[in-house]
Symmetry: C2
C-alpha cells in the first residue's frame, strides 16, 4: 500500500493498484449506486476525486462523510473518466477519521472575506487561503534562497528593543510591571529600573541599525523577521505585526543597492511563477484578472531609474490632474507613483536621491547638500514596494544629521562606534513581506495574507 498525498496522487505518472490518501472532504455528490468524494489535504489547490460504490464496504455509511470531515481512502489510482483531472481513486475502503459536525461553517456557498477572517482557524481550508498560505511559504523560502545563494548571512535582529528608533512614537511597550500598581520613583514617575530589562522597552520597528553592525563584520547580511507598528490605522495595507526583509551590504553604494533590489524583486516573482503555477492560475482567475500581465511586466523589463528631482519635473509637466499637487520637497503620493509606473514609463521605476528633509537621519548625504542617497522602488498596482538607501558612513556628517534630528549621541553610541572603527560605505533596503505577497497574489487586503492578522482591536487566535 502506497501512502500518497493529494499532490502526488494527481501528479502520478502511472496507475497504482493500491494507494492510501488522507485528507478532508471538500464536497460529496451522491448518485444512484455511487458517490463522488472530493478530497483535499492542502498540498495543492486541486482535489482528488474518490469514487465510492457498492464494492466499498463503507458505502452504506456514505452520508456520514460530511463536508469538512477527515477521511482516509484506500483503493486503486486509475485514469479519470471525467474532465478536469488526470487521476482518480476507486475506493475499496473508506475510513472516517474525524466527522465534521453539521454546523461546519465552510459549506459550499461563497463566504465574504470579512466573515472568513472571523473564522481564521478554518479559512486555511478554503481554496483561496489554502493557496495564499502555500504561496506565503514558498515566497519565504525564495527569500532565503536568493540571499543564501549569494552568500548573505541571515541575522536575527532583536524584537525587544530599548531604542525607540528616531523617536517615532508608534511603538508597543513591553513590560512585566504590574500595570495596576507599577513601582514609582519619588517623583511619581514609573520606575523602569524595576522592570524586566531595567529600562523601558518596545517592540522593534526595524532591524536595520543592527543589520548594519553585521554588514560591517560579515559584508553581506539580511534580516527576515517580525516587525511592529502601533499605528491606529485601519487600512487594507497596514498591520500591526508584519514580517520584513532587510538586506544590508558593505562596500556597496546606492547604485549597487538599486541593482540588488531589482534583482531581488525579479527573482521572487520568477520563483513564484515557477513553483506556484497552479495557485497563481486561481488568483489570476478569481482574484485579479491582470495578475499575470502585471507579474510579467515586472520580470521582463529593466526598471527605469530617475532621480526624485527628475520625477517631480516630469510629474509637473505631465499635464495630469492629481488630487495632491506635486512640488519639490513633498513625498510622492500613490497617484504619482502609479502615473510614473503605469502611464509614463510602463515599467517599474526606481526613484533615487530624495530631499534630505523627508528622509531619516541615517541616510547618506549627497554632495549637493540638498538630497540623500535614498531610493524607492515603485511597481504598478502597488506603488512603493521597497525603500532603501546608502547609509551615512562618515562620523562628522552622521553627528550633524543626528543633531538636526535632535537625537542623542549617547543613545546611539554603538551606531556611532561603527563609524569610528573601520567604517565603510554600505547600503540596504527594506521589503515588507506581506506587501510583496499581496503583489504576487493580487489579494487586496493585508489581513488576508497573514495567518492571524493583528490590527487595532484584533488579536484573536
Amino acid at each position: 500500500m502506497k501512502k500518497l498525498n493529494v499532490k502526488a496522487a494527481l501528479g502520478a505518472t502511472s496507475a497504482e493498484e493500491s494507494v492510501k490518501v488522507s485528507g478532508w472532504v471538500r464536497t460529496r455528490r451522491d448518485a444512484k449506486g455511487f458517490s463522488f468524494l472530493e478530497i483535499n489535504d492542502g498540498t495543492c489547490l486541486a482535489n482528488l476525486q474518490a469514487i465510492v460504490d457498492e464494492k466499498c464496504p463503507e458505502f452504506g455509511q456514505i452520508h456520514e462523510f460530511t463536508t469538512g470531515s477527515a477521511v482516509c481512502v484506500q483503493g486503486a489510482l486509475v485514469e479519470s473518466q471525467g474532465a478536469g483531472q488526470a487521476w482518480e481513486i476507486q475506493a475499496s475502503k473508506l475510513e472516517l477519521i474525524g466527522k465534521a459536525e453539521d454546523s461546519y461553517p465552510l459549506q459550499k456557498k461563497r463566504h465574504s472575506l470579512e466573515y472568513l477572517r472571523e473564522i481564521a482557524h478554518l479559512r486555511p481550508r478554503a481554496n483561496l487561503f489554502g493557496a495564499v498560505f502555500r504561496v506565503r511559504s514558498r515566497l519565504a523560502y525564495a527569500v532565503h534562497q536568493f540571499f543564501q545563494e549569494r552568500e548573505f548571512i541571515y541575522v536575527h535582529t532583536p524584537l525587544i528593543t530599548a531604542s525607540d528608533c528616531e523617536g517615532a512614537g508608534e511603538m508597543f511597550r513591553v513590560s512585566t510591571l504590574d500595570p495596576k500598581d507599577p513601582p514609582r520613583t519619588e517623583e511619581g514617575e514609573i520606575d523602569y529600573s524595576k522592570d524586566f530589562f531595567e529600562r523601558p522597552t518596545y517592540l522593534t520597528v526595524s532591524g536595520q541599525l543592527e543589520a548594519e553592525i553585521f554588514a560591517l563584520s560579515h559584508s553581506k547580511v539580511y534580516t527576515f523577521g517580525p516587525t511592529f507598528r502601533a499605528e491606529n490605522s485601519n487600512t487594507s495595507r497596514h498591520a500591526s505585526e508584519f514580517w520584513m526583509i532587510e538586506p544590508e551590504v558593505a562596500f556597496c553604494d546606492l547604485e549597487g543597492d538599486m541593482d540588488l533590489a531589482e534583482e531581488f524583486i525579479k527573482y521572487l516573482i520568477s520563483d513564484i511563477l515557477e513553483h506556484c503555477a497552479g495557485d497563481l492560475e486561481m488568483f489570476g482567475k478569481f482574484v485579479d484578472k491582470g495578475l499575470h500581465e502585471r507579474l510579467r511586466f515586472v520580470t521582463e523589463r529593466p526598471f527605469e531609474r530617475l532621480s526624485y528631482t527628475e520625477a517631480v519635473e516630469l510629474l509637473e509637466n505631465s499635464g495630469e490632474k492629481f488630487d495632491f499637487p506635486i512640488r519639490y520637497g513633498a513625498n510622492l503620493q500613490s497617484e504619482h507613483e502609479r502615473y510614473l509606473t503605469e502611464k509614463h514609463f510602463k515599467r517599474p521605476v526606481t526613484v533615487y536621491n530624495y530631499p534630505k528633509e523627508i528622509k531619516p537621519f541615517y541616510m547618506r548625504q549627497n554632495n549637493d547638500d540638498k538630497t540623500v542617497a535614498a531610493m524607492d522602488v515603485l511597481v504598478p498596482g502597488i506603488g512603493e514596494i521597497i525603500g532603501g538607501s546608502q547609509r551615512e558612513e562618515r562620523l562628522d556628517r552622521l553627528d550633524a544629521a543626528m543633531e538636526h534630528h535632535e537625537l542623542s549621541k549617547e543613545d546611539y553610541w554603538w551606531y556611532r562606534d561603527l563609524r569610528r572603527y573601520g567604517s565603510a560605505p554600505h547600503a540596504g533596503f527594506g521589503l515588507g513581506f506581506e506587501r510583496m505577497l499581496m503583489f504576487v497574489t493580487g489579494v487586496g487586503n493585508i489581513r488576508d495574507v497573514i495567518p492571524f492578522a493583528r490590527t487595532p482591536g484584533n488579536a484573536e487566535f
Copy 2:
C-alpha cells in the same frame, strides 16, 4: 579587475593577475621593507594575507592601516610562500576606506566572553563570533531546507497574542496604554477595552496551537520564529527572546513524530558538518575538544527509544548515586538524562509516554489512563533538546483535560473547533534554535549564540 571576497580568494583554483578585495584589517606585521596585512571580510574564518612592499604606492602610509580599519587591496593573487594559506595577494594598490581609531577594542589580545557581550556591536568581528553567526545563518537555512524538501508549509504564527497559554504567568505584556495613568473601569481595574487590541495582550510563548490549525488544513507545516519568556532566570541556557522551530503533522502519531525528530536532528548536524567545516574545526579546537565526536555520536547511531516508565526503572536499578533521586511521576533531571545518553546507552535517547500529571493539557491521553503520548529527545552534553507529543484530537478527552487544568472552554473555542470539524490524529514538537546552535558549536552560553541577547536587565543594542 576581478572583485573577490576573502573566501573566494582563498579558494581560488589558479593565480590571478589583478584582483580587488575589500575587508577589515585583523592584524598588521611590519618588517623591513614590507608589511603583512591580514584581511577578513566575514565570509570565512581565515584571513587573506596581503603583502605590501615598496612597489605599492601607499607603503609609506602603512602605519595608517590599523587593526580594525576597512581597506581595499588591489594586486596579484599568487601562491603563498608561507605556511597555512594557499593564496596571498601581492598588493599593488591599497585604499584606506575607514581607519579604526586607536581605541579599537578588538586588539589582538584575548578578551573574556563577558567583555565581548558588552561590545556586541563589534564582537561579530572576532573569530569566535564571526563563526558562530555564520553557523547560525547556515543552520537556519538548513531548517528551511529540511522542511521545504519534505513539502512542509512554513507558517508565521502571531507574536502578539491574547491567550496566555495554559495560564503560565511568565509572559511579557504588550500595550500602548499610558503606563503612568492608564484608563480605568469604575471598579478601578485597568480598562483594557481602551488598549490597542481592546484586550490584554502578551508576547507568545509558543506557536503550537496555531500551527495545529494549519496542520489540519495543509497536513504538514512548521513554524520558525521568535518566542518569549519573561522568566527571571539567569542561567547559561535561558534567554527572554529566542527562536523556536515547531513542526506539526496531521495523520501522524507519536511514532511518526519521533521518526521526524530523529531525522531532523541528524539532518541539521550533517548539513553543518558539510557546509561549515572550517568554522567547526575552530570550535573543536578552541571551544569544545569533544565536539566532533559528539556530533558523529548523534548522526551515526539510531536513537534509543524507551518509555518513561522503563527509563525510571532503569535509573532506579542503575546503582548510580543521583543528587535528585528519581521516582515515577517526577521530571527527569539533567543528571538522569546524561546517565541515559552518555553512560548507559551511549547514544541519543528518546523517552516517550510520560505521566499525564507532568505534561500540558493538549497531549494525547494513552489508554492506560496514566500517561500521555509525549516524547523528549535527549542528547549527550545537553540533555533534552526536543520536546513533543501527539495532540489530543478527541473532543471529549480534550474537554476533560481542560477541565482538569482549569482552563476555560470559551478561551479555547477555536482550538476545540478543530476537534469538532474534521479532527485527525496529529503530532509535533519544538526545538529551541539556540539550543541546537549551542549543540553544534559547543558554545556554552546562550548569550553567545544570539546576536543581541535579551536577558533580565539586558536590552542593549
